[in-house]
Symmetry: C2
Subunit: 204 residues, 2 copies
Amino acid sequence: MRVVVPFAAGRPKTRLADVLDADDRASFARAMLADVLDAVEAAGRQPEVLATAPVDVDVRVTVDERSLTDAVNAVLAETEGPVAVVMADLALATGRVLRRLFGTAGDVVVAPGRGGGTNALVVRHDGFRVDYHGASYLDHLAAAREVGATVAEFDSHRLSTDVDEPADLPEVLLHGEGSAREWLRGAGFRLAVEGGRVGVTRED
Amino acid sequence: MRVVVPFAAGRPKTRLADVLDADDRASFARAMLADVLDAVEAAGRQPEVLATAPVDVDVRVTVDERSLTDAVNAVLAETEGPVAVVMADLALATGRVLRRLFGTAGDVVVAPGRGGGTNALVVRHDGFRVDYHGASYLDHLAAAREVGATVAEFDSHRLSTDVDEPADLPEVLLHGEGSAREWLRGAGFRLAVEGGRVGVTRED
């Protein structure tokens, strides 16, 4: 199984701009990417990065400047056999959960992201193509059924948590096991419990 | 295994006040409770409700006006054998995921909620007690280890999604399979995709 990790090298995580400046966002995004690559390896697979620009990592990198959808569909078209697509901002991913994902039966296995995205996919059907625009989770279920593929939902909090905005940072501090959590702690972020809700504070 | 569903009968979901008035919040909370009870039954168990005031449901209801923590600990103290505690606002719960939860090995099995809460628990250890205050997930892991209990994390997007605030409503529309989703649709709520984020709109 090819395991592809798309990475937007040039665009930092702009929705984190309220809490992290551009350099920090780029650095934090790289820490999350490292965690995802480690988790894929811990699940017994060799990851490769599909990036919009060259990235300095110890695994194979393919540069494709097109949109996420076009770049992933090019991989699906050129590959015989199963392909997994795992997003680079899944800072809670572990070898354990990815092993369970890769082992789940189905022509198309979809792990939804919070908010209706598609955070991880396993594709074992030649006719299936992705479309990451909008609420892609429901679109991917429909697209799989259209080509006659069997579909499995993969139910995981760890994989549903893509780290996009400040409200996602507590999840990294609570459940992260790798360098993204360390990065946040090193940058002074701590869990803060206020009025029954958990957020983060940042120490100087 | 006793399966207890705590329900705050008198307090509607105040964090939804921006999008639902008090009557609607009470009605929506009852729809979610019904879904959770159905899911427990679909998992082959007989649920019981642990409520702060009488509730009209077709299962056993115990009224305990004390705090959630005290009421659940009273159940744990009086029960020989395993107890599961499943929150009443898990509108994405299904028989499938609860069957997997109830079947997970461990003296204490904890399904974290987004934001560090404890959305579902299985307790198979006499010495374990709950404390739902604050980021209870980490506290429950520590408390389990303190009494020498083996601990398992239960990783589920469906169980991590307690429905507390407007940002949780898209999850119900995306993944709900029961009356809470129907309630929202009947009240005019629809998924809305804007700038890459999924929210809800409400039709008149």
